[in-house]
Assembly symmetry: C2
Homo-oligomer: 221 residues x 2
């Protein structure tokens, strides 16, 4: 036959990616605690997962363990950080320097993890020009000029829900491909833009449901 289907890129589930974050965090702690190796069982226990789940997740990306011994803590952590792309730093812009936005700018852990907030935007005249942790707030009007994908790789959106779609449209136009949105609204973006939503109300509603229905879900994430 002339054309077999192209070797399709292996697709990883969202859950696996989230668990990689958990493993990464656990391994960081294990290193601090002085462990040199850890078994899938040990790792699983820390994150309330099964050993098989841990092994399967890691197996999507390679073989990192030693039979009879387990995984080398530091090596595995470094490997996961490569997989997640957090073995480098990311330049992040933050739009909306309100309650949540200010909390995010002040949060030093992001910086340490390599998510560097390097640009701030707002439309409030009292905020524009002001200084937050060494960064001067730019006027949102200049977003198109000042948001270069060469420079900024991710945008965190912390503006009111009512304006979020307009702003996201501009962000997309500027060529940004990754957005973390805090506004409780379903934003429309093209297929090649990665959008994640942080929806706190949803988690409170989940708790409400759980209390009212005394609910244990089939599968806990």
């Amino acid at each position: 036959m002339a054309s077999d289907s192209l070797p399709e890129k292996k697709r990883i589930s969202e859950s696996t990616i989230h668990r990689l974050s958990l493993y990464y965090r656990a391994l960081t702690v294990l290193e601090k605690e002085g462990f040199e190796t850890v078994s899938s069982k040990g790792l699983a226990k820390r994150e309330k997962l099964t050993p098989a789940q841990v092994r399967k997740d890691l197996s999507f990306f390679g073989s990192f363990g030693t039979r009879g011994l387990g995984y080398p803590v530091v090596e595995l952590r470094d490997k996961i950080s490569q997989i997640l792309g957090i073995d480098r730093s990311w330049r992040v812009a933050l739009v909306g320097i309100g309650n949540i936005g200010s909390a995010l700018v002040s949060y030093k852990e992001f910086q340490k993890q390599g998510f560097q907030i390097v640009k701030l935007f707002d439309n409030d005249q009292r905020k524009i020009g002001s200084n937050h942790k060494g960064i001067v707030v730019s006027d949102i009007k200049n977003l198109a000029n000042e948001l270069e994908p060469d420079n900024i790789e991710m945008v965190v959106l912390a503006v009111p829900a009512t304006v979020a779609q307009y702003i996201v449209d501009d962000i997309v136009k500027a060529g940004i491909k990754a957005i973390l949105n805090f506004a409780p609204v379903n934003l429309k973006v093209p297929d090649d833009v990665f959008l994640r939503n942080e929806n706190m109300s949803m988690e409170l509603e989940y708790l409400s449901f759980a209390l009212v229905n005394d609910h244990i879900p089939k599968r806990v994430r």
Copy 2:
């Protein structure tokens, strides 16, 4: 036979519960826009889901639609709010009045949605006694006395990761059954306590992974 297995309580998946939140939000918007009914197709489109998914989710809880017509917007919204348990208000305590904690207290939407923050705790002498939106910050030392499950039904935890487990132990001891945690740490709680984590780093790491791997997950939540 003497004993058939008890009619097991229908377990609903986490995804379905989260989608109920989305439907609720969409229906609120639809009502404002003046729609009296909406089809599963219409609802699906707004939330980037399939009509079958919408119908299946709702079918777990009953039959709310009319064939040939769709679902009555207001009625369905009210029904979902009953299912989620948000047709009432919840009394919430917030522990840790720092960057995130302050943002949450100032957020009026929670109040509107029925999540009433009615008690604040911190261990910082400069914060204890101070007033946030009409609530005086209590000393964390008094948590055991002042956190009565009769009065407080949920706790939001916004303290440093290093102390989160100690505090959560006290919260559990006080009899609280629902906790929303912002600290990036895997907290241990008994099986009858519902715990949800809000982990922003995880979402940034997801975006990082997506950019590095040009990744579209198998299933988008």
